[in-house]
């Protein structure tokens, strides 16, 4: 399957990035762990790239299949866990690095304040 790459930039008040996300056959999941189901930003990334959006609170997925993760973290738990695992992390809230795992949150792996307009297809 042909996937497209997107460039995800920080939104207003956000931090980090930009991230380039291109799913592959092995890593094709746009993994969403926000409250309330699939977030529009996760859906927008999936629509733009051809990746498959996936709700991490409804069922399990192997980490190795995850292309990127979308969170809406209030600043302590999710914001650190995924950068710690070096999974590209997109936070829809305008969070800055914080919490006990703060040392893992780097600009090349984390971007925040993201809205759908911050997602641009590149080739």
């Amino acid at each position: 399957m042909a996937y497209k790459a997107v460039r995800i930039e920080r939104g207003r008040g956000g931090w980090g990035g930009p991230l380039t996300i291109r799913p592959t056959d092995e890593k094709n999941l746009i993994y969403c762990v926000t409250g309330g189901g699939i977030h529009p930003v996760a859906q927008a990334i999936a629509d733009a790239t051809g990746g498959q959006v996936f709700d991490g609170f409804r069922s399990a997925a192997p980490e190795k299949k995850i292309a990127c993760v979308v969170i809406d973290c209030g600043g302590t738990a999710r914001i650190g866990v995924y950068p710690m695992k070096r999974i590209p992390t997109i936070d829809v809230k305008a969070s800055s690095p914080s919490g006990p795992l703060v040392q893992f949150i780097k600009e090349d792996i984390f971007v925040s304040g993201v809205k759908p307009e911050n997602i641009k297809v590149i080739e």
């Binding site: 609170f57 409804r58 209030g74 600043g75 999710r78």
Partner: protein, 210 residues
């Protein structure tokens, strides 16, 4: 994974909680949330040393379970508020501050982050601060409760004294520990506020520090 003995900040036991008698007036604790802990992630002790406890409900994926205490709670009856009591096993902690997304996270995902820093203005929007001091982690199987102190006239409908619930919260009625008629709401709010202030002052005098 024993974290040592809990130092009860309140000597009352959970079993006696049908109604609790304060030093000044009769009080009732309304249960806003009740859960049993099923799993404690391997990173929890490290976070405990940093004064933080992270909780998630059973639907949490494996990577979040590593850093969290996983429980079977489902329903939050009313948004969290200062002066609510968080009970972990036998130890009780009084809430001092509630982040703006904390109640929604707790209701939707069973996710709550507790920091024992006594903050009234929390540092991060997902946090709930409790009075400063040590947090203690009992063994797996302990109960997680959120309790709201109120006057003896408080009704079984906790939502009658709570602010309107966000859409995500379950509207089921509180498991109150006493059932009495509802007084007029404005009298209830005024007397509840007066009681909470008095109760807080009494508790400060009666409770040992730490």
């Amino acid at each position: 994974m024993s974290m040592g003995k809990p130092a009860p900040s309140h000597p009352q036991s959970e079993a006696a909680g049908a109604s609790e008698v304060s030093l000044a007036t009769a009080t009732v604790l309304t249960v806003l949330y009740e859960a049993r802990v099923e799993e404690i992630g391997p990173m929890v002790p490290e976070l405990l040393e940093a004064g933080i406890l992270i909780f998630f409900g059973k639907q949490a994926p494996p990577e979040l379970r590593e850093i969290a205490i996983v429980h079977d709670g489902v329903t939050l009856v009313a948004p969290l508020a200062p002066q609510d009591i968080i009970q972990l096993g036998d130890a009780r902690y009084t809430v001092t501050g509630v982040g703006e997304v904390a109640s929604a996270n707790f209701s939707q995902l069973g996710h709550i982050v507790i920091k024992a820093n006594g903050a009234i203005e929390v540092e991060l929007p997902g946090e709930v601060s409790v009075e400063a001091g040590a947090l203690h982690l009992p063994e797996i199987g302990f109960n997680l409760l959120v309790l709201r102190p109120g006057q003896a006239e408080t009704t079984s409908e906790a939502s009658s004294i709570a602010s309107p619930l966000p859409e995500a919260l379950d509207q089921s009625p509180a498991e109150s520990l006493s059932i009495t008629p509802t007084p007029p709401q404005h009298h209830l709010r005024r007397s509840l506020w007066a009681f909470l202030s008095a109760w807080r002052n009494l508790k400060r005098r009666a409770t040992p520090s730490g």
